[in-house]
């Protein structure tokens, strides 16, 4: 029996603009399990990113609860949410969002030093992570604009991991990358998940999605279906086919 690290209870998110309300998430109940590589899929406008940012405490729900390890985070203040994110979450964005005025190493340290005051230990861990993600020393002092998109995204993964988060949230992490760079990023995510790290990833890319072991299909603000791709489905082709038939069932 898996432990739920995150769960929602009647989660709603509504956007208002010029008096027009758009209900993106509608009384959504779901759970994210510890150690899972959970993939959220769905058609454009289904609310995938909205769900991801609500789950991660980046944005507040309009109604409903979000429980993280049994604690409701939906009513926390912005500052408490910031502390929650730094202590528990790592983020990987489609646009990478490294701070372009800082070196690669400083981007990771700026995040790590929020949690630990031990500058030397944080620096050592950052360098270790960069090496693990195949970013050698020559890259560390460069600025984001001076390296490739794939290298930047791997630096983004290092940043997400620097504080040993309980869960990694990835929003279309390969969306802005070419095929080879995308593959490298997915390999890195797969590897960290294999070491027990919980990952929640939003994607609409089939090849990315098959890296997950649990696929959730979101449509019209609700989870319409779920597909397990765990150890029972081995091999890329089998996973691809399993996922393909699930998505076909969902009307993808």
């Amino acid at each position: 029996m898996k432990n739920a690290v995150l769960s929602t209870n009647k989660l709603c998110k509504t956007f208002s603009s010029s008096g027009i309300q758009q209900h993106v998430l509608k009384n959504l109940d779901m759970e994210i399990y510890e150690g899972d590589f959970t993939v959220i899929m769905g058609p454009s406008g289904a609310g995938k990113s909205t769900l991801l940012y609500a789950l991660s405490g980046m944005d507040k729900p309009t109604l409903g609860d979000i429980l993280f390890a049994g604690r409701d985070i939906s009513s926390l203040t912005n500052d408490r949410l910031a502390v929650f994110r730094r202590d528990n979450c790592g983020f990987i964005f489609q646009q990478i969002y490294l701070l372009d005025n800082m070196s690669i190493l400083d981007n990771i340290l700026a995040c790590g030093l929020l949690v630990s005051k031990n500058r030397q230990a944080v620096a050592e861990r950052a360098k270790q992570l960069l090496r693990q993600l195949n970013l050698d020393e020559s890259m560390w002092r460069k600025f984001p604009s001076q390296i490739s998109g794939g290298e930047a995204q791997r630096a983004g993964i290092a940043r997400a991991l620097i504080n040993n988060p309980k869960i990694i949230f990835a929003d279309e992490p390969t969306g802005a990358l070419n095929s080879a760079n995308g593959q490298a990023v997915l390999d890195a995510l797969t590897e960290i998940n294999e070491h027990g790290q919980s990952v929640v990833m939003v994607t609409h890319d089939l090849r990315s999605a098959r890296r997950g072991n649990r696929i959730l299909y979101l449509q019209d603000g609700l989870i319409r279906g779920e597909c397990q791709l765990g150890e029972y489905v081995r091999g890329d082709e089998a996973r691809h086919n399993r996922l393909g038939s699930f998505l076909a069932e969902m009307g993808w």
Binding site: M58, D59, D79, R85, R86, F93, L98, D106, F143, N163
Partner: protein, 772 residues
């Protein structure tokens, strides 16, 4: 259309810039209106009363009067002369219970006076019985009203009157003029003539084709006509200079401050345009792509900022026109006239034109880079503004709190902006320090200021009717327990030094002087020595160690110049000589004026009352010098306190507005970056602190730089302003405590304001900041 859209897009920043320009234009127009208007206003008033250009006050019956009139009549460009009788001498009057001392004379209002006839200001009554018209400056300073009692003490005799009105005085009756004229009825005047047979005066006046001739005439007149029996001779130009000098200095200070503010506004425009080009890079690319020419886009920016400058300039000028009457009211006691400067079209055109042209020019220069932008480069967002040459302060090697390190990193990456903020803050801080220092010297530190500029400041000055009693009186005075020192000190010896007239002060023993009048060399000790003021030395082309011919009447002698003296008297045409020295050319000289210096515990009023009760009949006047100084300084200090408070307040406003614009622009520019930091766990306060700390080092640097510049620049600046008064070396103390307090307050204000402005990011979620 493009300009209007740009203004709409950045409403807050446009309004801040408009406020900047408004304040600069307001001060500029105010300073220029006073600077350009006060002289011509004075001339117009003088012309309206058909003012004399030269007036000499003689003892009635003096031999020189007829010769003087003959000389006047033969002088080229003379228009007319006039002779008037009066009664007067040294005496006291009262302003707000403070005793003022001066040379007071009374004239009959019914005299056939063509030049400078009595011109009444405001409410008045006909002169009957004991009624008197008093100078407007005494009316204003003393808060007198028609019907109030008014007391004069003339040559030791108290005279009581009822105020019937006040007169506009051009040559006499002002704060920095010790000669005051009063008008009484013909009947009262006749009584006074009988009551004071020894106090008869004759005034001879001349009017020339040009007022400037008065000064030339005075020099020529003094060479030819004996000074025997002459109390004073005055020229219109000198009177005008003395009356308008302080308002002119105040106007120069205000104008200089306005120019600093204008420079700040221009820097802000440059900064705004640079930011706006970065922010609107894609829009510029789109405009270029759809066919807008660069010149059209640049013109839109120039029109946008010129429009803001025009609106701010017009509003500032309107505001300055509204406050000019209140400001001139403050200056009235100094000018001693009701000031009505009216609408000065020239000042308005100069102020508005200057502001508008400067704004348009700086906008054009700042927007020119658009010409070089290729549409495709602009569409891609242009070249990044960050300098990636060096990663300043790497976090793995840095020390200190994370927020501070991140703030400093940002500071190094925006060096140009940081330098601009530093310069702006330094400029306004310098102005603030100067304002505080001037205010300090006019208020708390006024004694040291007075000693530096006004010369010797004893506690009491006694003027005797006759010098024959002098020596014995000095001994009696010194025997009083309250008196620690008595010094013969006579101010009114008119001498010719190398044919140029000066006002010499005769001092019994210069070693006993306590003022800081000597600025180079030493005081005279021997009979053949003299110390001279800077202006006479300049005119005579002499220096310390040279000799000068000094003439009084028919006697002349060569004197050695031992030092340079400086104090506000005769615009630097002055000097100090010993009593032995003056007797070489005025053999009959004896002191009639004595300075008394009291012990710390002594009460000046008690001493004066005691001396007056014991031997009141022997005095022409008794002056409480410190009380008199207080009255004078109170008049000036109000003007400078207002200027200082204004400058400090505007400095604080400038700092707030600069920070508002810079931080608001930075938040907009760094919105995504701040969003990322929020997303990865930075709290709102950490980000606010980072933004505030980013500005603080340059504010601190600017404040320190400005304070140092103000500290060391005040005296050279004041010297430049006061050189026309014969002051060539000003050594005013700058109050360190107040300077440090203002510095700390400005830095604290900057930090607090930065936090407050950055507070706006608190409500925006990380998701919103990134996704917008």
């Amino acid at each position: 259309m493009l300009s209007a859209a740009n203004i709409r897009k950045n409403k807050g920043q446009s309004v801040s810039l408009l406020i900047f320009v408004l304040i600069a234009a307001m001060f500029l127009n105010l300073g220029l209106t006073i600077f350009m208007g006060i002289g011509s206003f004075f001339d117009e008033r003088a012309e309206s009363v058909h003012m004399a250009h030269y007036t000499a006050i003689y003892q009635a019956g003096a031999d020189a009067i007829d010769k003087g009139l003959q000389y006047m009549a033969s002088y080229p460009s003379l228009e007319e002369t006039e002779t008037l009788r009066a009664i007067g001498g040294w005496g006291d009057y009262y302003v707000n219970d403070t005793q003022g001392t001066g040379f007071l004379f009374l004239s009959s209002a019914s005299s056939d006076q063509k030049m400078d006839a009595p011109s009444l200001i405001g409410e008045s009554l006909p002169l009957t019985d004991n009624a008197i018209y008093i100078p407007y400056f005494i009316m204003r300073s003393g808060g007198y009203r028609v019907g109030d009692d008014f007391k004069l003490n003339l040559s030791g005799t108290e005279l009581n009157f009822t105020v019937a009105g006040s007169t506009a005085e051009i040559m006499f009756g002002a704060q920095f003029n010790t000669i005051h004229r009063f008008y009484v009825s013909e009947a009262r005047f006749s009584e006074l003539e009988k009551q004071f047979p020894e106090n008869g005066l004759t005034l001879i006046s001349a009017r020339f084709e040009n007022s400037e001739t008065g000064v030339l005439f005075q020099a020529d007149y003094n060479k030819v006509i004996s000074t025997d029996g002459l109390y004073f001779d005055l020229t219109y130009d000198n009177a005008k200079q003395a009356r308008t000098m302080i308002p002119l200095i105040a106007a120069i200070v205000v104008t200089a401050f306005a120019l600093i503010l204008l420079a700040v506004s221009l820097m802000v425009i440059r900064f705004r345009i640079a930011n706006s080009i970065e922010e609107s890079m894609t829009n510029i690319g789109t405009q270029k792509a759809v066919g807008y020419r660069s010149a059209e886009i640049v013109a839109a920016i120039v029109v946008q900022y010129a429009g803001i400058a025009l609106s701010g300039g017009l509003a500032g000028i309107a505001l300055s026109q509204a406050i000019i009457p209140s400001i001139t009211k403050l200056l009235e006691p100094l000018v001693a006239l009701v000031i009505n400067l009216g609408f000065d079209a020239v000042s308005v055109v100069i102020s508005l034109g200057f502001v508008l042209l400067a704004a348009a020019l700086i906008s054009f220069i700042s927007a020119r880079r658009i010409n070089k932008l290729h549409p495709l480069v602009a569409l891609r967002g242009g070249l990044t503004a960050h300098s990636f040459k060096k990663n300043a302060l790497p976090l793995d090697k840095g020390h200190g709190p994370l927020s501070l390190l991140l703030a400093l990193k940002l500071l190094f990456q925006n060096k140009k902006q940081a330098v601009a903020v530093g310069i702006i803050v330094a400029a306004v801080t310098m102005a603030s320090v100067a304002g505080i220092a001037v205010n300090y010297n006019m208020n708390e530190g006024r004694n040291s200021f007075a000693r530096s500029l006004f010369g010797e400041m004893p506690e009491v000055n006694f003027v005797l009717k006759s010098g024959e009693d002098g020596a014995a009186f000095g001994e009696r005075l010194l025997a009083r327990p309250e008196v620690r020192k008595v010094l013969g000190y006579e101010v009114a010896a008119t001498l010719l030094v190398d044919e140029t007239g000066i006002l010499a002060t005769v001092v019994e023993d210069c070693a006993l002087l306590e003022g800081n009048m000597i600025i180079d060399g030493r005081y005279p000790r021997h009979n053949n020595e003299i110390a001279l003021g800077p202006s006479i030395l300049k005119v005579a082309g002499k220096k310390i160690g040279d000799t000068v011919m000094v003439k009084s009447g028919r006697n002349e002698k060569e004197y050695l110049i031992t030092g340079i003296v400086q104090f506000m008297q005769s615009n630097g045409f002055n000097g100090i000589i010993t009593d032995g020295g003056i007797r070489e050319i005025q053999p009959d000289f004896i002191f009639t004026s004595f300075n008394a210096y009291l012990t710390d515990e002594a009460d000046t009023k008690t001493l004066i009352d005691g001396v007056r009760a014991a031997e009141g009949a022997i005095f022409d006047s008794i002056m409480d010098v410190q009380d008199n100084l207080k009255s004078t300084m109170d008049t000036i200090s109000g003007v400078f306190a207002a200027v200082a408070i204004g400058i400090v307040a505007v400095t604080a406003l400038v700092v707030i507005l600069v920070l508002y614009m810079v931080i608001k622009a930075a938040i907009l520019q760094r919105r995504r970056e701040l969003g990322i930091q929020k997303a990865v766990g930075f709290t709102t306060f950490q980000l606010m602190n980072q933004i505030a700390l980013n500005m603080t080092p340059m504010i601190l640097f600017g404040v320190i730089l400005g304070a140092i510049a103000g500290y060391f620049g005040l005296n050279p600046m004041m010297t430049a302003l006061m050189s026309g008064m014969g002051i060539v070396r000003v050594q005013l103390p700058v109050p360190i405590g107040q300077t440090i307090t203002v510095g700390i307050a400005l830095v604290a204000l900057a930090y607090a304001v930065s936090l407050l402005i950055a507070w706006r990011i608190r409500k925006v979620s990380a998701y919103a900041m990134i996704s917008e």
